[in-house]
C-alpha cells in the first residue's frame, strides 16, 4: 500500500455556463475511510463524483486518486464506482452484462465472485430489464466491485431500494469496508450517513459546508429537545425556563429546545406540574443537516426512491 491519499481534491471547481455546480472544493480522503457525501439535490455531489473520477473536466483545480490521474486509477482497477445514470444493458441477462464489463478489466474478480459479493448469484440468468430497482442497484454494485478496487465511489447506492434491500446492501458493504478499503458514498438518507460513515462531508450550493465525524456534525446543533403535553400551553412562561432557546407548540404538544436539558426539566416540573408524557431526545442528524444547509427537511429527503 502506498501512502498517497485515496482522494485528493484541490480547489476543484466546475461551471456549467454561469452556474457554478462545484466551487473551490478541497478535500483529502485517506485510505480506509468511509465517507458519506451529504447534501440536498443540486448541492454538487454528483458533479463532484464525476470530477473526481475524471468523467468531467474541472473548470479549475484538480482531482487525484491515489496521487495519480483518475483515469489511471480506473485503468488499473483501483477504483470502482456506482454512478447516477450508469446502467447495465436491459436486453442482456445480469450475468452477460457483468461478463461484458469483466472482459474489460485487467485483473478482475471472477464474474461469480463479484455476483456473490453483491448477493445476486440467484439473479444471474434474469434479464436486466426485469430487475426491481433494488436488484438493479445490487447488480451495479457487482460491476463496481469487479476490479476488486481499493476505493469504491457510490452515488446514492440505496436509491430505489426498500428497507430490507438497504439493510442487506449495507451488510455487503460492511464486508467490503472490513477489508480496510475506502468508500465514498453520496446519499440523501441522513440515517445512512450517521450509521455507516465514519466521516461526513456536507455539501450545499457546490461547496463543502461541514466535514467531520457524525457526532461532530451533529454537535452543530447542540442540546436536546424536550417534548411534553400541557393543557392550553402558552409561550410566555415556558420561554423563561432555564436553558430554553426555542419553542414549538402544536395543539397541546410542546417541543422545547434546550442547551441544558437537566436544568430545563427540573424547572419545568416545578413550574408546570401539569406537564405529562415528557420525552427528551438528542437533536438529530436531520436537525444538524437543516441547520447547516438552511433547507427544509422535505427537500432533504425527497430523494427517497427517486434519482432526481
Amino acid at each position: 500500500m502506498d501512502r498517497a491519499p485515496a482522494i485528493t481534491l484541490a480547489g476543484l471547481s466546475k461551471k456549467f455556463g454561469t452556474l457554478a455546480a462545484v466551487s473551490d472544493v478541497d478535500l483529502t480522503i485517506e485510505p480506509g475511510e468511509v465517507v458519506a457525501l451529504l447534501g440536498p439535490n443540486g448541492a454538487g455531489k454528483s458533479t463532484t463524483i464525476d470530477l473526481l473520477l475524471g468523467l468531467a473536466v474541472p473548470t479549475a483545480g484538480s482531482a487525484e486518486l491515489f496521487g495519480e490521474d483518475p483515469r489511471r486509477a480506473i485503468v488499473t482497477g483501483r477504483v470502482g464506482a456506482m454512478l447516477q445514470g450508469g446502467a447495465l444493458l436491459p436486453t442482456t441477462t445480469v450475468r452477460e452484462s457483468v461478463a461484458l464489463i469483466h472482459a474489460l478489466h485487467k485483473h478482475p474478480l471472477s464474474v461469480d465472485e463479484a455476483m456473490e459479493r453483491a448477493g445476486i448469484s440467484d439473479l444471474a440468468r434474469q434479464k436486466v430489464a426485469s430487475l426491481s430497482g433494488g436488484q438493479l442497484q445490487r447488480a451495479r454494485f457487482a460491476v463496481a466491485v469487479l476490479s476488486n478496487p481499493d476505493l469504491l465511489i457510490l452515488d446514492e447506492p440505496t436509491a430505489a431500494m426498500d428497507v430490507a434491500a438497504r439493510h442487506s446492501f449495507w451488510s455487503s458493504m460492511r464486508e467490503f469496508t472490513g477489508q480496510g478499503k475506502t468508500v465514498v458514498f453520496a446519499t440523501h438518507y441522513l440515517d445512512e450517513a450517521d450509521t455507516f460513515a465514519d466521516r461526513i462531508v456536507i455539501m450545499n450550493s457546490g461547496r463543502v459546508i461541514a466535514d467531520g465525524t457524525p457526532s461532530e456534525v451533529k454537535s452543530v446543533v447542540s442540546g436536546r429537545t424536550l417534548s411534553f403535553t400541557l393543557a392550553a400551553p402558552d409561550e410566555t412562561g415556558l420561554d423563561r425556563l432555564p436553558g430554553a432557546n426555542g419553542i414549538d407548540i402544536r395543539g397541546s404538544r410542546v417541543s422545547l429546545h434546550s442547551e441544558d436539558s437537566d436544568a430545563t426539566l427540573r424547572a419545568l416540573l416545578t413550574a408546570f406540574p401539569g406537564a405529562t408524557d415528557i420525552e427528551i431526545v438528542s437533536r438529530s442528524m436531520d436537525d444538524a443537516f437543516m441547520a447547516l444547509t438552511g433547507s427544509s427537511t422535505s427537500s432533504a429527503t425527497t430523494g427517497k426512491g427517486a434519482t432526481k
Binding site: 477504483v79 436486453t91 452477460e96 472482459a103
Partner: protein, 245 residues
C-alpha cells in the same frame, strides 16, 4: 482492441433477434421475390446473370443496413447509461469506437454470408467459388465507410432523432446505390449524384467481385475518400465532446 470483449459484444448482437430481423429478413425476402421472378435473365450491362446481380444488390442492402444499424445500438446504449458504465472501465473512448466499427463489420459480414447462402441453396444461383468469395469480400470491404456513418449518426443524434436520421440516410443511400430500382429509370441528375455515393460503389464493387472483372480503382478511390472524410469528422466531434465534458 480487447478481443474477449469484442467476442462477447458480437455474440450479444447476433443473439439480439429484434435487430436481426431487419438486417437479415428484409434483404432475404426481397432476394426471394426478385431472384425468383427475374432470376434466369441476363444483365448485359453488368455481364452477370440477373440472379447474381440481385444477390449482390441484396447483399449490399443487408450489409449496409447492418452497418448503419450500429448507430441505434450506440444511441440506445448511451441512453440507458451503458456508456457511462463503460467509462469507469479500462476501455478508452477510441477503443469503444473501434469495437463498434468492428461490430458493424462483423454483423455486416454475417448478413452478406446469409444472403449468399440463401441465393446458392434456395435459388440455385451459379457462380464460381472465387466469384462468390470476391463478391462477398468486395461488399464487406465496401461497408467500411457505412460503419463510420453509423458512428457519426450516433455521435450527433439524440435518441428521438436517431430513427429519422437513420431512415433518411439509409433510404437515400439505398436509392442512390441502385439497390431497389435500376438507376437508369430515375431522373438523370440522380444517376449523376450516385457517382459519388458510397452505396453505388458498394454495389459495383460486389458486381466486380462476382464477375472477377473490372477496375477497382474508382470504387477504392470513392470509398476510401468517404472513409477518410468520415474518420476525420468523427475524430473532430469526439475531441470536441471530450473537451466539453
Amino acid at each position: 482492441m480487447n478481443i474477449r470483449y469484442f467476442g462477447l459484444e458480437i455474440a450479444r448482437q447476433l443473439r439480439d433477434a429484434r435487430s436481426l430481423v431487419f438486417t437479415f429478413a428484409v434483404p432475404i425476402v426481397m432476394l426471394l421475390i426478385f431472384g425468383g421472378v427475374y432470376g434466369s435473365q441476363y444483365d448485359h450491362e453488368a455481364h452477370l446473370q440477373w440472379i447474381i446481380v440481385t444477390t449482390v444488390q441484396m447483399g449490399a442492402y443487408g450489409a449496409m443496413m447492418a452497418a448503419l444499424a450500429q448507430a441505434f445500438t450506440i444511441v440506445n446504449e448511451r441512453s440507458v447509461g451503458w456508456n457511462r458504465q463503460l467509462r469507469i472501465t479500462p476501455l478508452s473512448g477510441t477503443g469503444y469506437m473501434i469495437t463498434k466499427v468492428a461490430s458493424a463489420m462483423a454483423v455486416g459480414l454475417a448478413s452478406i454470408i446469409v444472403v449468399i447462402l440463401v441465393s446458392i441453396i434456395v435459388l440455385h444461383a451459379h457462380l464460381s467459388v472465387g466469384g462468390w468469395v470476391m463478391a462477398g469480400l468486395g461488399l464487406w470491404i465496401g461497408i467500411i465507410p457505412f460503419s463510420l456513418i453509423a458512428i457519426l449518426i450516433a455521435q450527433f443524434a439524440k435518441l428521438q432523432f436517431a430513427q429519422p436520421l437513420f431512415m433518411v440516410t439509409f433510404l437515400g443511400l439505398a436509392l442512390l446505390g441502385g439497390l431497389w430500382v435500376p438507376l437508369d429509370i430515375l431522373p438523370h441528375w440522380i444517376s449523376n449524384v450516385a457517382q459519388v455515393a458510397p452505396s453505388y460503389w458498394l454495389n459495383k464493387l460486389g458486381q466486380m467481385g462476382a464477375g472477377l472483372t473490372g477496375n477497382v480503382g474508382t470504387p477504392a478511390l470513392v470509398l476510401g475518400g468517404w472513409t477518410i472524410v468520415l474518420a476525420v469528422l468523427i475524430a473532430w466531434r469526439y475531441r470536441r465532446d471530450s473537451a466539453r465534458a
